[in-house]
């Protein structure tokens, strides 16, 4: 059987099938590539397409709605009247206008007829003149001019239209043609002007109608909406980006968040439930931060350049340093540029975090630019003094040298130059001397402003119950769950050692003995003097009072009575002054050796040329209580306890010197001196990591230790993010030591503050925002002028808890406001003043004096300088002039007042005007003196407003005028009645029955009162009091006075009698 040759696979095998499959696959892949190119990598295209649909839907709905609303307004009688008036005016002007229009039409037709020939001939002449001007040969010039003159004489014939459709032939030579043309233009503009004048009343009326419509329409009008709709229809689908080349910002966020800048507010519900399409929720913020300059990512972080996937664009990749801030950390975006601010508008969470960082004492261990600056400033200033002194010495030598050079100089001119040089050096030396004086003063002042979070531990022997100390150290939160003192991760024995060290190195001195006071009276004083703006008594629901200072519920268990009296009387008093130059406290023995009395204070703050710290570094102010009151309050506070102080077990080990030596090392390790003044640790360095740029620290540098795998895998509530690390660390600072073997001195030693979740969130936000600036300096918020004053002022406001008593912005709540008796309608009158417009109200020079000495007196100090009638007292903070300056500027800037303040002269009253002002003042309808203090104790007890005598020095006349006119506008809820005056023909006149003296007065009556106030003398006030007479009767028993906690029980019936007797 012949074997058929099998076909050769190389030659005969068909590859068609393979090719077919390969080609189809290739085609598919090409299609895929095309899809990726057009849609897959550009998700924003489909978003934009969907947005167009949703937005159009929403706009149409809005148009219908707004049209209905608009029609309703258009049908209102007011609008109809306006519209009709406009129509009538239009109709009235119509015949005249039509006449003018027909005239203009004729002129226009004439213009058209003349235009072409005019242009041609003018061109010809102009070009020939040019040739003449540039022809050199005189002969040729003459020829050309003759030719041109001939041309100008040529006649053009034009068929000129006339009114009524007729035409007429005109013959113009060149000049006539030009004149006719110009005449046409002049006539036309004259007619247009006339027409405009005729139409003016009608168009004004129309404008009024339109304005009425706009004023009464809520939301955008139909035309605007239609414009948006048309814009939406035209909108092309494309990449949208903000580009700021100088700052390196390229943000394409708008490509997907396409509704973000729409001029009308779009909510999720408006856009068919699609959150992606909403407009920016805070348009106010965008007004300040124009996206064209700032883009999006500087605030929100994320990878703005990326528009290919949601995850990558939001920066959620571990190698992207700036992932999008989550909703709870949103405010972090402000910090990068607003690092210098303590308070940033629109960023409540960040503000809370910034405040907590200071208040909680984080700054004690962790440096952060902007915090705890005074030690650094003191060092810088001292260095500056040294270098200035060196320079002065150098200059002194140079003076001698120059003088000598002058003496031996060859020429007169050279000698004079040398002498001049010597002279200028002498001048500069005197300037340097003045700078040194200034700097030396600054060092003292800066030391006044140095404050610490915790109390001075040098005085614990005088201050504390010895047995209580170890119990407290062991677990502060068990003793007081609200305390700022954190629980330290002490190892067994640490507490004993630290207590022993503190006890050993404390000052061996006692506070002077005090007789016991009256606890009942003390309780009353504690509740009314303003202590509770910072301190609370009771825990949880039973707590009453502020949170800024320590809770006093168990203060009786720990404090010595004598020391407590001293502390309440003046918390800034020290047992011994601290001398930074010698590095220790000065003892009476030191003073004795120097032959000086052991006296120190704000006026004795130098010892042998060294600046001293003479104050306790506490923010607690002096309430200027009498010693008796201090004893009363202390007697009350000492009763606050849950168990007897002597029931604590004794602590004999606190006298063990070996333990003390160990304690010193431990104290250093745990960083106690970050918050407390401790002997030998006054200059200790901060022991924690600097956190100024913690938010941009690379993720891999965060030690997640045993939780790294959890974090990377995202389990058990962990995430591989900075935020997650911060949150866990703040919740449990030792968490990263869990399961680790650590020898003593090697373990994590950040204490546990038992922060609330919202506090953790606020601090996390603050830390996340603490980044190395990515953008150029001019984008950072580092303002000058008033904005800087505000920026600096807030640090002081927050430092001293001014907000515990005063309101600085509307809506802000003070600690006092939350107390029950200040919430009653009557008690509200007893609240400290709101400072919403303080800068506009008071003279800055007066304010500076007041802040330095709120009693406004050196002798009569146990009172408030302005509101003598208030039980709550503005305390003395012993602010340094540096801080006073900043505060005054802060108030001025907050009220948009120019600095420096130059008072406006107030025109003196004529005798007539004086009489009228007096009459107004005592008018029975508005007896000013009824509420305002007058310096008579019996009356002032019931006063609710300051003495008028203060006005001249204290107030600004412009503000007083506004205040009298409408106080409720300036300070909503004030006791001062509004509506005392009303406007009449541009003048303010009294609303009540006008006193007869003013019957013929034609001027502004508020003006009268202001001028009167600013020339009020004590004698004049006496006169007013006599005139008021019976009107100064105390108010009936239902008014606020009864509710006053310290109000006297007996309301003297012989009140008026006393009053009269007092003068």
């Amino acid at each position: 059987m012949p074997e058929l040759p099998s076909p050769d696979p190389v030659q005969h095998r068909s590859l068609a099938g393979w090719y077919m499959i390969a080609a189809l696959l290739l085609l598919t892949v090409f299609a895929w590539a095309l899809f990726d190119e057009v849609i897959g990598l550009r998700p924003w295209k489909s978003y934009q397409a969907r947005f167009k649909v949703e937005y159009a839907k929403y706009l149409r709905k809005q148009i219908t709605q707004q049209r209905a609303q608009q029609q309703k307004i258009e049908n209102s009688p007011e609008y109809l009247a306006l519209a009709q008036k406009a129509a009538a005016l239009k109709k009235q002007a119509q015949p005249e206008i039509e006449k003018i229009n027909s005239q203009i039409a004729v002129l226009n037709a004439q213009f058209d007829a003349i235009l072409h020939i005019h242009t041609t001939r003018q061109q010809y002449v102009a070009s020939n003149i040019y040739i003449v001007e540039y022809t050199k040969s005189a002969k040729r010039k003459k020829e050309l001019l003759t030719k041109l003159a001939r041309y100008e004489k040529q006649i053009s014939t034009i068929r000129m239209p006339e009114a009524g459709g007729k035409t007429r032939l005109v013959h113009y030579n060149y000049r006539q043609l030009m004149d006719a043309f110009n005449q046409n233009s002049d006539q036309k503009s004259a007619l247009y002007e006339k027409e405009g004048n005729l139409m003016a009343p009608a168009s004004d009326a129309e404008k009024k109608a339109k304005a009425y419509l706009a004023d009464h329409l809520t939301g955008p009008n139909v035309t605007a909406l239609q414009g948006l709709l048309a814009g939406n229809r035209r909108m092309s689908i494309r990449i949208r980006q903000f580009y700021n080349g100088k700052a390196g910002i390229v943000d394409r966020c708008e490509s997907c968040h396409i509704g973000i800048l729409q001029p009308i507010k779009l909510t999720k519900a408006d856009m068919g439930g699609n959150l992606l399409f909403i407009s920016h929720p805070d348009m106010e913020l965008l007004k300040i931060h124009d996206p064209v300059i700032f883009g999006c990512s500087p605030c929100h972080a994320g990878n703005g350049m990326y528009a290919e996937s949601v995850k990558a664009a939001h920066g959620f990749r571990e190698d992207w340093t700036w992932p999008l801030f989550s909703k709870s950390d949103l405010d972090a975006g402000c910090q990068e540029c607003h690092a210098k601010d303590m308070v940033v508008d629109h960023a409540p969470v960040l503000n809370e975090g910034k405040f907590l960082f200071e208040w909680r004492g984080c700054e004690g261990c962790h440096a952060h630019a902007g915090y705890d600056q005074s030690p650094g400033e003191i060092r810088t200033t001292q260095r500056e003094i040294t270098s200035l002194e060196k320079q002065r010495n150098q200059d002194a030598l140079d003076v001698q040298r120059s003088n000598h050079l002058g003496d031996i100089a060859a020429t007169n001119a050279e000698a004079q130059a040398d002498y001049l040089h010597a002279q200028s050096l002498q001048v500069s030396m005197s300037k340097i001397s003045m700078r040194i004086d200034h700097d030396t003063q600054d060092v003292h002042w800066l030391m006044m402003d140095e404050k610490m979070v915790g109390p001075d531990l040098k005085e614990i022997r005088a201050e504390l119950n010895k047995r209580w100390i170890p119990v407290w150290l062991h677990n502060p939160h068990a003793f007081d769950p609200t305390t700022r003192m954190p629980n330290f991760p002490f190892r067994p024995g640490d507490v004993k050692a630290i207590s022993a060290f503190l006890w050993r190195d404390a000052i061996h001195m006692q506070a002077p003995q005090q007789p016991p006071g009256d606890p009942v009276k003390g309780k009353q004083l504690f509740r009314t003097r303003g202590c509770m703006a910072c301190h609370a008594v009771g825990y949880g629901k039973n707590a009453a009072g502020g949170w800024f200072g320590p809770n006093l519920t168990r203060v009786g268990e720990k404090m010595n009575y004598d020391y407590l009296v001293r502390w309440i009387h003046n918390p800034r008093q020290r047992l011994e002054p601290y001398c930074p130059a010698l590095g220790r406290d000065l003892t009476p023995a030191d003073y004795q050796k120097a032959g000086l009395p052991f006296v120190f204070g704000l006026h004795h703050d130098t010892f042998e040329g060294h600046a001293l710290q003479v104050e306790q570094e506490t923010v607690m102010p002096n309430l200027r209580l009498t010693l008796k009151s201090a004893q009363d309050i202390a007697s009350y506070l000492i009763t606050l306890k849950e168990k007897d102080p002597s029931s604590y077990s004794p602590a004999p080990y606190m006298s063990d010197p070996k333990l003390a030596a160990k304690g010193k090392k431990l104290l250093q390790f745990y960083g106690c001196s970050g918050c407390h003044e401790i002997a030998g640790f006054e200059n200790a360095q901060k022991i924690g990591t600097e956190l100024t740029a913690e938010g941009s620290k690379p993720l891999e540098l965060f030690a997640f230790s045993r939780f790294l795998e959890d974090a990377e895998r995202g389990r058990d509530g962990w995430a591989f993010t900075r935020a997650s690390w911060f949150e866990h660390k703040l919740k449990d600072p030792e968490i990263f030591d869990q399961g680790m073997i650590r020898t003593a001195g090697e373990q994590l030693h950040m204490p546990n503050f038992h922060l609330k979740p919202e506090e953790i969130n606020a601090l996390t936000t603050f830390l996340l925002g603490s980044q190395t600036p990515r953008f150029p300096k001019n984008m950072m918020y580092d303002p000058s002028g008033p904005a800087k004053d505000i920026q600096q002022g807030w640090w002081i406001i927050k430092k001293y808890n001014c907000e515990g008593c005063h309101q600085f912005t509307l809506g802000q709540s003070t600690a006092l406001m939350t107390l029950p008796w200040f919430q009653t309608p009557n008690g509200k009158g007893d609240l400290p003043p709101r400072l919403l417009t303080e800068g506009a109200r008071v003279n800055p020079n007066w304010l500076a004096n007041f802040l330095a000495n709120p009693a406004l007196s050196d002798t009569d100090v146990h009172r408030d300088g302005v509101r003598t009638y208030l039980p709550v007292r503005m305390p003395t903070f012993y602010l340094s002039p540096i801080e006073i300056r900043k505060l005054v500027r802060f108030f001025e800037a907050m009220s948009h007042q120019p600095m420096p303040y130059i008072p406006r002269p107030v025109k003196p009253l004529t005798p007539d005007q004086l009489a009228m002002a007096r009459a107004l003042f005592v008018s029975p309808a508005a007896p000013c003196l009824k509420c305002h203090a007058i310096g008579v104790p019996a009356h002032d007890k019931f006063a609710t407003a300051p003495n008028f005598l203060l006005a001249r020095k204290r107030l600004k006349p412009d503000w007083v005028r506004h205040w009298i006119m409408n106080p409720a506008l300036i300070d909503p809820g004030t006791a001062m009645p509004s509506g005392l005056f009303k406007e009449q023909d541009g003048l303010e006149v009294f609303s009540g029955p006008v006193p007869p003296a003013l019957a013929h007065y034609k001027g502004d009556e508020v003006n009268l009162i202001v001028r009167y106030l600013f020339e009020l003398t004590p004698e004049e006030q006496q006169r007013l009091i006599q005139m008021s007479g019976k009107m100064l009767m105390p108010a009936p028993a239902t008014t606020s006075q009864l509710e006053r906690p310290q109000s006297p029980d007996a309301r003297s019936a012989a009140y008026v009698g006393t009053l009269v007797a007092s003068h």
């Binding site: 190389v10 030659q11 892949v29 090409f30 590539a33 891999e700 030690a703 230790s705």
Partner: protein, 310 residues
């Protein structure tokens, strides 16, 4: 055992080529050897049957009567190559479309990633840096590889096995090449799959913890013999290395003359050719030897001089 960690490594786009290589390399080696076996069978038949030798082409398998002994490049080769080109294009496009380039964040001069790994094709070189001095691992070895590969045509005196797959006629050459190739792959896999943070050795499935602490004390061979002087170290190391080259070189010499076939080829080689080949192979063997003594005995260097270490 953390499969999560394994997946993290394997799914990183950087590592895709190496993961693919794990499958592709054995596959192509297998494919080549299969072809070689078929050819070897044919060679056997041809050697046994002189008649068949006349009708069959020497090098192709299997050839049936009536088939052309030789075919044209166009279209018979090119159509195959074009098909292959299309398939490769498809694969590359799918790869490019499905995986983005694994770019990282902007470089931060304050933070050096540890380790900063080389791309996969240089990973073996980087791994070698762990065992050798930089000048040796980074300069000498790559140079020797290139020179060695270039030298192959000049030291190869075997006239058989050119242009077709065969194992029988090229046992020595194929073994030597595959040994080198797999050594290279092994180093690459160490670098990619085993070396975690800090270039530490992580077994597959171990969590890559940058804070892990490992015991890595590297000793040098002279230290084991308490040789402390520089001269002593130099001379001792040179001696040890000399012995190594003598012994392993002799081993390769024995391999080159293993059987009659090898000896026949060996006889065709000049002295220079023999020495060059022996030197190259012995130097190649230095790599696995160093890997083993490093991991098994924690010995880093053998020969230490003030200028270089081996």
């Amino acid at each position: 055992m953390s499969w999560w960690q394994v997946w993290q490594i394997v799914s990183t786009p950087d590592n895709t080529p190496v993961v693919a290589l794990l499958f592709l390399m054995p596959f192509f080696v297998w494919l080549g050897l299969r072809q070689a076996r078929a050819n070897d069978r044919l060679i056997g038949q041809l050697e046994a049957d002189p008649e068949m030798r006349r009708t069959h082409h020497r090098k192709t398998q299997p050839l049936e009567p009536g088939w052309a002994k030789e075919v044209h490049v166009w279209p018979f080769l090119l159509r195959m190559e074009f098909l292959a080109a299309i398939i490769v294009t498809i694969i590359l496009m799918v790869w490019a479309l499905s995986l983005n380039a694994p770019l990282e964040a902007l470089a931060n001069p304050h933070v050096t990633p540890n380790p900063e790994k080389a791309p996969w094709y240089f990973m073996a070189l980087q791994e070698m840096l762990y065992y050798f001095d930089p000048w040796f691992a980074g300069v000498v070895v790559p140079t020797l590889i290139i020179i060695g590969l270039m030298a192959i045509p000049f030291i190869d005196t075997n006239p058989l096995g050119r242009g077709y797959y065969t194992w029988k006629q090229r046992k020595f050459a194929i073994s030597a090449f595959l040994f080198g190739l797999f050594l290279w792959m092994l180093l690459m896999c160490f670098g990619v799959f085993i070396r975690g943070p800090g270039y530490m050795w992580f077994w597959p499935g171990q969590f890559w913890d940058p804070a892990r602490v490992v015991f890595t004390v590297n000793r040098n061979l002279p230290d084991l013999f308490h040789i402390t002087s520089a001269w002593g170290k130099g001379i001792f190391g040179a001696a040890v290395l000399g012995i190594y080259y003598a012994v392993v070189g002799y081993g390769f010499f024995r391999l080159m003359t293993w059987n009659e076939f090898n000896r026949k080829i060996f006889r065709r080689m000049s002295l220079l050719q023999i020495f060059v080949m022996d030197f190259l192979l012995t130097t190649m063997m230095l790599v696995p030897v160093k890997v083993i003594i490093m991991h098994a005995f924690r010995i880093k260097y053998i020969w230490m001089t003030p200028w270089f270490n081996i």
